[in-house]
């Protein structure tokens, strides 16, 4: 699988698309992960836990959702 990815990575480079030198790709990748981990590390607001509790008490999962009239 990793070999496959390497091969297709080569293909992507050969297909004439803009591709950055590995060093710059590494720099960009690090910034992307740093920026993203800032977002991931934010605490979960209570509203989501409340929502899941509400869903749980309304109906257990794996059941058909109730047919509500719209």
């Amino acid at each position: 699988m990793s070999q496959k990815e390497k091969d297709s990575g080569k293909l992507a480079c050969e297909s004439g698309q803009v591709s950055l030198p590995p060093e710059l790709q590494g720099k960009l990748g690090k910034r992307l992960r740093d920026s993203y981990s800032d977002l991931v590390n934010q605490p979960i607001p209570d509203k989501f836990l409340v929502l899941l509790e509400q869903l749980k008490s309304a109906e257990p999962p794996k059941a058909e959702p109730p047919k509500e009239g719209k």
Binding site: L28, R33, D34, Y36, Q42, L55, S57
Partner: protein
């Protein structure tokens, strides 16, 4: 009321995925209010269609699929309505990274926000979440080759925006040098 053990495992899985869902939603929307609405919709949909989740498969990938499908279908709906540009801009400005807030990352966020949704999506999936190209293609409902070319284009665009594209600088210098040579050539004839 007693709940099924499966049910609470599923619930725990959803809770564990919330930080990543919020990060993915924030990356796509660029503002936290819309992002949280999107995560909320995703959780409700996931709960109501939990029967279609195959136990043992990747819950996060399944949730990401629901989130991005919801995002793009909302976007299509919204594009038919009038957009509150000022409101969206104000909200965008209010979202700042909590740590790592040095210039590099602020620049990165700005450059990232300017990418197309297709590019943001694949960059996050492959570059930040660590999904394989195959998994990302499945989540996005497109071909593996499409994911690869989007990632490449996104990297190229980011590199250019951030001035990291030294190759481009070199080629600009080369062009400038060629222009000089050309001019010199014209003068001598």
């Amino acid at each position: 009321m007693m709940t099924l053990p499966n049910g609470s495992a599923f619930q725990q899985g959803l809770i564990a995925s919330i930080p990543n869902l919020r990060a993915f939603a924030n990356s796509l929307c660029g503002n936290s209010t819309t992002a949280d609405d999107l995560v909320q919709d995703t959780l409700v949909k996931a709960w109501n269609s939990s029967a279609s989740f195959q136990e043992g498969s990747n819950l996060r990938a399944w949730l990401f699929t629901i989130l991005r499908n919801t995002y793009f279908s909302d976007l299509r709906k919204r594009s038919r309505e009038v957009e509150d540009v000022d409101g969206a801009l104000a909200e965008r400005l209010s979202v700042l990274p909590s740590q790592n807030s040095h210039m590099d990352l602020l620049d990165f966020r700005t450059a990232f926000d300017e990418l197309s949704d297709d590019q943001k999506e694949v960059l996050v999936l492959v570059g930040a979440e660590g999904f394989s190209y195959e998994e990302a293609a499945k989540i996005c409902g497109c071909a593996v080759g499409t994911v690869k070319s989007r990632v490449n284009r996104a990297r190229g665009a980011l590199g250019k925006k951030l001035g990291l594209d030294e190759a481009a600088d070199v080629s600009e210098q080369t062009k400038a040098a060629l222009r000089l040579v050309e001019r010199a050539g014209h003068r001598s004839t």
